[in-house]
Symmetry: C2
């Protein structure tokens, strides 16, 4: 691999001149520059980003921590992050945490030192101290989907409104026994949806039916098993709200196997509408969240924070999107 030194030697100038020529950081005589460019080409030189980063204290890279990519909304947010980051000259480093605090901690420790200028995280909620430390040490940090630390920027959805609106919508369709498939109440999106669900139920005088399962919350099985449980719990059930599309798909499968008609007997609605909802055999009514755009915004916020001068860092921003109810066949 050719280095600056090689180029300098071939072009018969000092390395500093090469550096200046390549970075356009001060005027270089056109002839000299031409010689340098020729040498660069001949040696097919490309700068060592590691050395640049070390020297400049910047890597133009942001780390992204997500619980999972496969069949989750995070694939969409991550893609938004990637696109926006690339547009602004940043690379992304994606790490799966599996929602495991230990894996998350390892990734954070790896990222914090030298790898990245900023971090976008959908956290487990159990490494808040480290994340605050990282922020304090000067890295930009943005929370996406889950807001767990007050004074750190975030991009989220109004989950409470989602839960509330879904119940109201279903009630408007005549449903009275509405089941909820949800995730850990320790995580703000699930907690928020539950709160909204409960608030609406209270207003309507309905009673709650909730299910949890042992499976990974991001799995089809989770939705399947929870739906089965809801069915067992409440024979009068006439609607199911699923926290995610994947859960909703699993639930619809469970209903089909139980010979329950959707939406005639039980309506199904997803609270994290992703593009797939519209293409299912029975297309799924859902509260669509702008996952891709959320990723774009999170990347933009992070990079702006990175690039702000140290004495002018923006104060934490909290961007809250709202979901839009899209009516389809299932509900």
């Amino acid at each position: 691999m050719a280095t600056l030194k090689d180029v300098a030697k071939l072009a018969d100038v000092d390395v500093s001149t090469v550096s200046r020529a390549l970075n356009n950081t001060s005027y270089v005589h056109p002839e000299t520059k031409a010689r340098i460019l020729a040498a660069v080409k001949e040696l097919s030189y490309t700068p060592n980003v590691l050395a640049q980063g070390l020297r400049q204290g910047k890597r133009h890279t942001i780390g992204v921590l997500v619980p999972r990519l496969h069949m989750t909304v995070f694939a969409a947010t991550t893609q938004g992050i990637e696109e926006e980051a690339r547009k602004r000259g940043y690379a992304t480093m994606i790490c799966n945490t599996e929602d495991d605090a230990k894996i998350e901690r390892e990734s954070l420790n790896r990222l914090r030192n030298g790898f990245v200028d900023g971090i976008i995280i959908t956290g487990t909620g159990r490494n808040s101290r480290i994340i605050r430390d990282i922020r304090t040490s000067g890295l930009a940090v943005t929370q996406i989907m889950r807001k767990q630390i007050e004074n750190i920027s975030s991009v989220t959805v109004d989950y409470e409104a989602c839960g509330y609106e879904a119940v109201k919508y279903l009630a408007g369709k005549g449903c009275r026994e509405i089941g909820l498939i949800n995730g850990s109440m320790k995580l703000s999106p699930y907690k928020g949806r539950y709160d909204g669900y409960q608030r609406a139920l209270k207003e309507l005088g309905f009673s709650e039916t909730c299910a949890v399962s042992e499976s990974s919350v991001h799995s089809l099985e989770y939705g399947y098993q929870c739906a089965m449980e809801l069915l067992a719990q409440n024979p009068e059930l006439d609607a199911i709200m699923a926290a995610t599309d994947i859960q909703g798909i699993g639930a619809m499968r469970a209903l089909k196997e139980s010979a329950v008609k959707v939406p005639d007997e039980i309506r199904v609605i997803s609270l994290t509408g992703d593009i797939i909802s519209g293409m299912l055999e029975t297309s799924m009514t859902s509260l669509e969240m702008p996952a891709h755009e959320m990723g774009v915004k999170a990347a933009a916020m992070t990079i702006e924070e990175i690039e702000a001068p140290a004495d002018h860092k923006p104060t934490p921003q909290h961007l809250v999107f709202s979901s839009e109810l899209v009516e389809r066949e299932s509900g």
Copy 2:
């Protein structure tokens, strides 16, 4: 951020001693070591990986280039790669290329210099020269899903067999007019599937019905539109083979909207079975590929190549998995 120097000063030793103590690279007096560890703790020191990388010429990071994550099999392979890499102490850097040669080129150029020790790629096929260069310059490179460069390791599936087997299976069910939804023939997986499809058709004396669409090949719309086209092309159509699950889902939606019964009137089968196939309302018969395991293997191969001594680099390996036909409701 504390540095080695800070630790050394606090522990009252030379930086080299700190380095040795931390890396267990030579005996350090227990008392000295204790002092150092205490200082590390007090300053909550973590090494700067950039500097380590620059010095050691190793980053313990592998780059992963995929066409897309959202709703593709690459989310599964990538997760396999991540897991295996983490297990072996490597981080991963994931880059989406959108199957765009220009984006791919940019990412490759960014990665090649200092960022990573190795690359795992599902390529566009249009940057083979750069990839070969990268390989020659000493980075480990592994192709996954698409094999486009002969003398570089790969992990793929026997796509030809997939296409062949699917036709034979459908013929066994009595189908005679089998349509294929496929992708660019310039990419080995699609080419392979087509070849297998054609070989089987020839053996059986069937004629071909193929569809392509303007949409992104990794989209639900693609499957939807292609299915509509197949229907229009061939009124006798009694089966559809879709290259991917997502296409298959889109196709089933198209059939439903066209009031065609699956599987009674038309059977549907996916050639890239992912976990979702089994959970659909009409579960989808598919040729399941071990996507996660393929990722694991690709990571293992890459890391083994990275860690092999320079004079003992393994020769390129080509790992070919076979798909397994799983019969479900759609076909």
